[in-house]
Amino acid sequence: MPAVQETIEQVRNIDVDQYKYGFETLIETDKAPKGLNEDIIRLISAKKDEPEWMLDWRLEAFRRWQTMSEPSWARVSYPEIDFQDIHYYAAPKSTSGPTSLEEVDPELLRTYEKLGIPLKEQEILAGVRKQGEPSDLDAIEGNGGRRVAVDAVFDSVSVVTTFKKELAAAGVIFCSISEAIREHPDLVRKYLGTVVPTSDNYYATLNTAVFTDGSFVYVPKGVRCPMELSTYFRINEKNTGQFERTLIIAEEGAYVSYLEGCTAPQRDENQLHAAVVELIALDDAEIKYSTVQNWYPGDKDGKGGIYNFVTKRGDCRGKNSKISWTQVETGSAITWKYPSCILRGDNSQGEFYSIAVSNGHQQIDSGTKMLHLGKNTVSRIISKGISAGRSNNTYRGQVSVHRKATNARNFTNCDSLLIGNDCGAHTVPYIEAKNATAKLEHEATTSKISEDQLFYVMQRGIPEEEAIALIVNGFVKEVIQELPMEFAVEAQKLIGISLEGSVG
């Protein structure tokens, strides 16, 4: 199990408050003044050359948001957020449309290097440089490397988009949402906000008003996207809220796998992140969305760290469609996140595989919603929560079967693992069936890494930290298997790193 050994080495090299990805890139930024009002929204819209309808949509959301209040039902606590004390727009100055690596700020490239991203980012970026040369791309593939297209969101503006040509040949559109609004307005207008409506929830509404960038993916009818699509989000500028907006559409019979990986530089101030992700799968289409989230969780005293309030929702709009969420959550001070599936089409399927690791003073309130509306709809939820230190980890899930959803089936399995005596694990499942043919199964366990188990593993010569990583990686194996290969390795590492200092 080389990943585990690597984990151990990393764990050895890292102090609990020496966040590996805690560095800051010094790039001049073009920043809007702090605060939120209609003028700021007009500025964001203007900076992005948006059409009138988009500005109107933002302004409408802003007006609604002002009438809403922050939700308080989650098991998380944090000081009140001053929404007027945040910059809502920041763009790296040197990014007015780079088309090749040479045009990219070298500082940014060094950032990528430091990130040590699992996908061999350097090779992929090299791919940008060799964009016109298909033989070089083939060579990458020939080396056994997986083809991954990266849309990097650096603060708020997409800086580099790779593999665009090849995707275009397949008819796949993969670009920043800002670009999509300009270049593909009909598609955006048709789908944006149809899964997460403007007034869905406080943070989603805020996002609608002020979102700065994100990804747009469109896979046309019958097309199997030729490579994994990937976006790395990084929050870079101090006090800049990140409001990503991502929209993925798979037309009839299309397939796409999308990877999202996140790391953030170290900060003292808390940083707000409120993303919205909408997935739409039409008849016979499949979307697989994987996340490894490793934002700064705060230091060992609970100071700093990202506030992550995310709305992710997939709409299985067509019959026989499938949406699968897989997430590995190890970072952020606060995580408020419930990737969900609306199973609207008959025979559609929704899946949620989750590993949530909390250590130190982290608070996680995460889970999923599976809304069964169509007939013969199937959902599966596998959630593995690991709590260590003084953290709190809550699974909150809802499985709901509509009156007309005959033969709906759900299987839910929520396991919690506790490490130490000062952490908490909570499971809050809501289950409602309005159709008598529904078959719903729910399993939940809470266990502690027992002294007996640890002693047994150590008796075989495996040191304590490594023994815990081994037991934990065994515990989450079912979910790790759902991740694309590169992410699986990274995820195992992250879990080990996140649990560093949880014993002794």
């Binding site: 007996d452 188990q453 008796q459 010569g461 495996i462 040191p463 065994g474």
Partner: protein
């Protein structure tokens, strides 16, 4: 190889003393059987040897190769060559037996400054050992001890012992839960490990196991002390007269 001097040990949480002035010497190449009635401290002795943290040594010492091991944690002791075959092996969900073997073997090799074992070499070794124990290789794909029968768990313990090649093997009630066929196979595995460089401490309640693993010395434990030592004849005597006679005589 192993020298236990006036050992006193208690349960850390409750302070209940279980080992009360135990003396025992086991030479390299020797197989020592530890027998005794329930509650005499047999399993506790095995845990204290392996360094289980919920027991506290309050007096005396354990010398292994002439060095005290009291300050070493369980992993360090294991890497130094101390192996405990558990009476109740733990389940490790999600960790394939093969994977576990690999991590354990390589952790010990690293601790000793040896290079990690390459996969083909590892597979070869595992295959050989599993063959001796008549274990199906398919079983090694299953998570360690999860859903294993009592007999399978014991075999898996001996498999680990064979692969880790310890210098001091402590077997805690390895015969419990085994039918006679499985017992023979397991005993063959243990006997194959007998060597002039290796010492074994075989803890058992019954004489039965000692028909197959014939000990050089037999020690009777009562209330946390060795009350009688002898050769294999002592085990037969116990079988005939029961513990009461022997223990009573010593007391």
């Amino acid at each position: 190889m192993l020298e236990i001097k006036n050992l006193h040990a208690r349960v850390a949480e409750t302070g209940t003393e279980i080992i009360r002035g135990l003396d025992l010497t086991v030479k390299a190449g020797e197989v020592a059987a530890i027998m005794g009635p329930n509650g005499s401290g047999k399993s506790t002795l095995s845990y204290v040897l392996a360094g289980r943290p919920d027991y506290e040594v309050t007096d005396g010492d354990i010398l292994y190769d002439g060095q005290s091991i009291l300050e070493m944690d369980p992993a360090e002791r294991a890497a130094a060559g101390v192996f405990l075959a558990f009476q109740y092996p733990m389940e490790i969900p999600g960790v394939a037996t093969m994977e576990f073997l690999k991590v354990a073997i390589n952790s010990q090799r690293r601790a000793r400054g040896d290079a990690e074992l390459k996969i083909p070499d590892l597979l070869k070794k595992v295959k050989e050992a599993a063959g001796t124990l008549e274990m199906d290789m398919a079983m090694l794909k299953r998570p360690l001890n999860v859903g294993f029968s009592g007999g399978e768990k014991k075999r898996a313990e001996i498999l680990q012992m064979m692969l880790l090649e310890p210098k001091l093997c402590v077997l805690d009630e390895t015969d419990s839960g085994l039918d006679i066929d499985a017992l023979k196979i397991v005993a063959d595995g243990v006997n194959a490990l007998r060597s002039p460089e290796r010492a074994m401490v075989v803890i058992t309640h019954y004489q039965r196991l000692l028909d197959y693993i014939v000990p050089d010395t037999v020690h009777v434990l009562s209330r946390g002390r060795v009350v009688k030592s002898g050769d294999k004849g002592l085990a037969l005597e116990l079988e005939k007269n029961g513990y009461a006679g022997v223990v009573g005589e010593a007391a």
